[in-house]
Amino acid sequence: MLELHVNGGTYRSGAAVGRSLAETLREELGFTGTKIACNEGHCGACTVLLDGVPTLSCITLAHTVAGREVTTIEGLREHPLVDAFVRADALQCGFCTPGQIVSAAALVATNPSPSREEIRHAMSGNLCRCGTYPRIEEAIETWQG
């Protein structure tokens, strides 16, 4: 049995060796806020925090994160960034949005007032086909109210 620490809780998982963290979170533990859009590490939709570091959960094996703290969008629901994203209209279809917010949360945790260049650097791994990028920039620039 694998023991996973997710959003402050402890979960036992029967995930087979080789199963990705994203699938385990979504299908076994019910954390469907983490999206899978490419399943091969190219888009950022599946971003979670691993001990605070943004990580692509679709190319992370569940068994490699035992004992580490996993934070998904469900663990960031009260983060002021959520408000900032909605206010700035930084989402259209919203499929990329949880991943965007997780990446942004990691950025502002270490750099609360990032410059435009720093935002672009930190967020360029999160694709958005709807093209909400200017709004995402605005949300991250204004998240502190």
Binding site: K35, C43, I73, R77, C93, I119, G131, Y133
Partner: protein
């Protein structure tokens, strides 16, 4: 009263004649400008659900015992299955059922040779069955051949590799010009002519001719095409990522020979479509059939790679164009041969549309060819045809302006059309001149922009106009329910594909009911829970659904006023709804819930329908974009630095959401112009760009400064709202505006998309050679 009329119905620029029942639209339009809720910046009503990861997309639908599917897709662009053997696949762990091609479906191969005989259903539970969407004669790489359902997706995907297939590989047809020459066409060539092209060219002082090419583009919505199918008794439930709940319902009912009401289609949240999700798709039929066979819910979801092989595309085009004008800039002739490289199936979009519609030119001749090729079928992609055709036409206009030594904006103004020259109808509204006027300050920046050039970077400014449909139409229906607590729910089985239509409908109902927005819910996304609603394609959701929602809200408001009049002994005409209250002309005011509270558990139910489009008028959308670019003339790198967009789409319901739509359209347009391209192996026809690292979508780092403006005047002839659609217009002029800015910066004519470094350097070389020749001859 309902009227039965025979009318032209337009979706994505395609017209069909059909019978439509319309109800009168008795409401006067609201005054122009921001109202209480409509016309004001409104964050999405479902923003928190989506942002917090609570929204359940099709990808998130899970049922106990649900099986997962993997599909065997043809690796060959044209081939025949000589033999197919499921034995090893069916024995693999977790596999529950298999599907193969329907026997007798395909032409040519006999049952034995096609392999159909190898898997005639027998009594064993694990024998493979057939489905009409599977083929043993794949005509494009990615065509579905067989499918397996297993306990997990990983098991299904592993087992698919164990299906043994013996292929006979055939020579594919991949070149569009060759297809036209060989008359491999999906439909008759579409010809259009007004006036006389030759005469027009004869009258011209200046003629330009050019060939433009646009590439094949992939939609790549982040949620891939997918369905979960579940049988509940004799009813099939289809959870699907779709742009058209009702189209899926009728498509599935027809194919499976079910009564329509035995198919329930659900799509509450959807992760993008851009035109590719208008139909049920092979995945839905595969899931439905496997669910029937196994008695379990079945998910069939395309992987990203399947998405890019087989789920539709914006087809490539070749455009051979000519334009003639008098010295003063008056257009005398426009002509074009447009070859659409449609693919094996799909439709030939009207790439010639902009040439026919945008300018007042008396002599126009166009022909569209829809080439049938061994490539995957196209699908509508955000203004299909018009994005491509506008690139050609608007670049051609600028090449003409350069030859005439005329300001490109001035050239467009001189050829402004006041009515639709295709069928002589007046426009219901057209404020393109106003768009041009508002573009002037952005256009005037070009001296300053050019002056900022410093080697090796050259800077310039370009513009392009836009015309498109977007008027929507009947039929579409909505209900509005008001409870005793004074809260309202809009009920209609439409879908919000990410454009924010749920929010727009809430605003419209709130405005009509005089309620604050937080007292209005919108229940959509379920064919079993609301009336018929429009497809979300062709920029039609807001102009089709909005008037129906307003009519339903007005019907509910009327009933509330009737009750209030009796309760407070007043005349109905002195009462109205405002700020959550029933108010009377003499200053009386009662909370809405005091009136609706009289109903106890009862409810007010209002119903509304979309009225007819204005008779004898052409409803179109217009706009202009002004792009600023920098070009590194040594490496060929192009950077877009600023785009200003001014669009005329009638009344704007939600300016905040509308700006997002425009920005998203421009950003997709930048991807189309500079980086995106589906590449095929030229020999085998297989897709080389299946992943998101090979197919280059724009990232946050590619986004320039964006400026968005709307004319925002209601179309006084169109419905009770005067609002048109906005989903597609903003992507239409972007590529041409960028290409024209490149010409302004460098003198080079880019004529092929995407503008890769190779194409940029080629155009620069050509421009230099032209200059050398000109210098020598002068």
């Amino acid at each position: 009263m309902a009227r039965l009329i025979r009318t032209e119905k337009e979706v994505e620029g395609r017209y069909t004649e059909q019978w439509v029942v319309v109800e009168e639209d008795a409401l006067d339009q609201w005054p122009a400008g921001p109202l209480e809720t409509v016309g004001r910046d409104t964050p999405r009503v479902d923003g928190y659900e989506r942002a917090r990861g609570e929204a359940i997309y099709t990808a998130d639908v899970q049922f106990p015992g649900m099986l997962h599917t993997a599909v065997l897709r043809s690796p060959h662009a044209r081939a025949r299955v000589k033999r197919i053997d499921f034995e090893r696949a069916l024995a693999a762990p977790g596999v529950r059922a298999a599907l193969g091609p329907a026997s007798g479906e395909s032409s040519g191969g006999d049952a034995e040779a096609s392999g159909a005989g190898a898997y005639t259903p027998d009594s064993s539970a694990s024998a493979p069955y057939s489905s009409h969407v599977l083929t043993d004669e794949p005509s494009f790489a990615g065509a579905a051949v067989a499918a397996l359902a297993a306990d997990t997706f990983a098991q299904a995907a592993d087992a698919v590799r164990l299906i043994d297939v013996e292929w006979e590989v055939l020579e594919p047809l991949l070149d569009a010009d060759e297809a036209v020459a060989r008359e491999s066409l999906l439909e008759e060539p579409r010809r259009y002519e007004r006036g006389d092209l030759e005469r027009g060219l004869g009258e011209a002082d200046v003629v330009v001719e050019a060939e433009y090419r646009t590439q094949t583009l992939l939609h790549n919505a982040l949620e891939t095409h997918q369905s979960v199918c579940r049988w509940e008794g004799d009813t099939l439930e289809v959870y699907i990522s779709t742009q058209y709940i009702w189209g899926v319902r009728s498509g599935v009912a027809k194919a499976l020979e079910l009564p329509q009401d035995k198919v329930r289609v659900v799509c509450n949240f959807m992760g993008g479509g851009f035109g590719a999700k208008n139909n049920a798709g092979d995945y839905t039929f595969i899931a439905a059939e496997l669910a029937r066979r196994t008695g379990r819910p079945v998910r069939c979801a395309l992987t990203r790679r399947e998405e890019n092989m087989a789920s539709g595309n914006r087809n490539a085009t070749i455009q051979r164009l000519v334009a003639g004008a008098r010295a003063d800039g008056t257009l005398t002739a426009l002509g074009g041969e447009f070859v659409n490289a449609v693919g094996w199936d799909g439709f030939s979009a009207s790439t010639s549309g902009p040439m026919q519609l945008l300018y007042a030119c008396d002599n126009v001749r166009t022909v569209d060819y829809g080439a049938q090729l061994n490539t995957s079928p196209n699908a509508a992609f955000r203004a299909p045809g018009f994005v491509e055709g506008t690139f050609g036409l608007e670049c051609l206009l600028d090449e003409l302006a350069a030859k005439l030594d005329l300001d490109p904006l001035e050239l467009r103004k001189r050829n402004y059309s006041d009515s639709d020259l295709v069928d002589g109808r007046p426009f219901s509204s057209k404020r393109l001149l106003e768009c041009y006027r508002r573009a002037e300050p952005h256009w005037a920046r070009r001296e300053e922009v050019r002056a900022r050039s410093e080697a090796p970077w050259r800077r310039g400014v370009g513009l392009a106009s836009q015309v498109w449909y977007g008027g929507g139409g009947p039929p579409s229906y909505a209900w509005v329910r008001v409870g005793s607590d004074g809260r309202a729910t809009v009920i209609t089985a439409m879908q919000d594909i990410g454009t924010g239509t749920r929010t727009a409908m809430a605003q419209i109902a709130a405005e009509e009911l005089g309620l604050p927005l937080d007292r209005v819910e919108v229940a959509l996304g379920d064919s079993a829970r609301g009336p018929f609603a429009s497809i979300s394609a062709g920029s039609s959701t807001t102009p089709s659904m909005g008037p129906a929602v307003r009519a339903a809200a007005a019907d509910a408001a009327r009933q509330i006023v009737e009750i209030a009049a009796q309760r407070y002994h007043l005349e109905q005409r002195v009462l109205s709804l405002r700020g959550g209250h029933v108010v009377s002309a003499d200053g009386g005011s009662w909370p809405l819930e005091e009136v609706t509270g009289l109903l106890g558990s009862g409810q007010i139910l209002g119903k509304g329908a979309r009225g007819p489009n204005p008779a004898g008028m052409r409803v179109l959308t217009f706009g202009i974009q002004v792009a600023e670019v920098a070009v590194d003339v040594e490496t060929g790198e192009v950077r877009v630095e600023r785009v200003a967009a001014i669009h005329d789409v009638g009344r704007i319901i939600n300016p905040l959401g509308a700006r997002s739509q425009v920005e998203g359209g421009i950003i997709q347009g930048i991807g189309h112009t500079l980086s995106e391209q589906r590449l095929l192996d030229p020999l085998s026809g297989s897709v080389l760009t299946q992943t998101l690292d090979a197919y280059k979508l724009p990232t946050i780092a590619d986004v320039p400064e964006l400026v968005t403006e709307f004319v925002d005047e209601p179309d006084t002839h169109l419905t009770n709202l005067g609002a048109k659609g906005l989903g597609e217009p903003p992507i239409i002029p972007t590529a041409a505006a960028i290409a024209n800015a490149i010409r302004d910066a460098t003198g080079a004519d880019v004529r092929s998309l995407p503008v890769t470094r190779e194409e940029m350097l080629r155009a620069l070389r050509e421009a230099r050679e032209r200059e050398t020749v000109a210098a020598r001859t002068s």
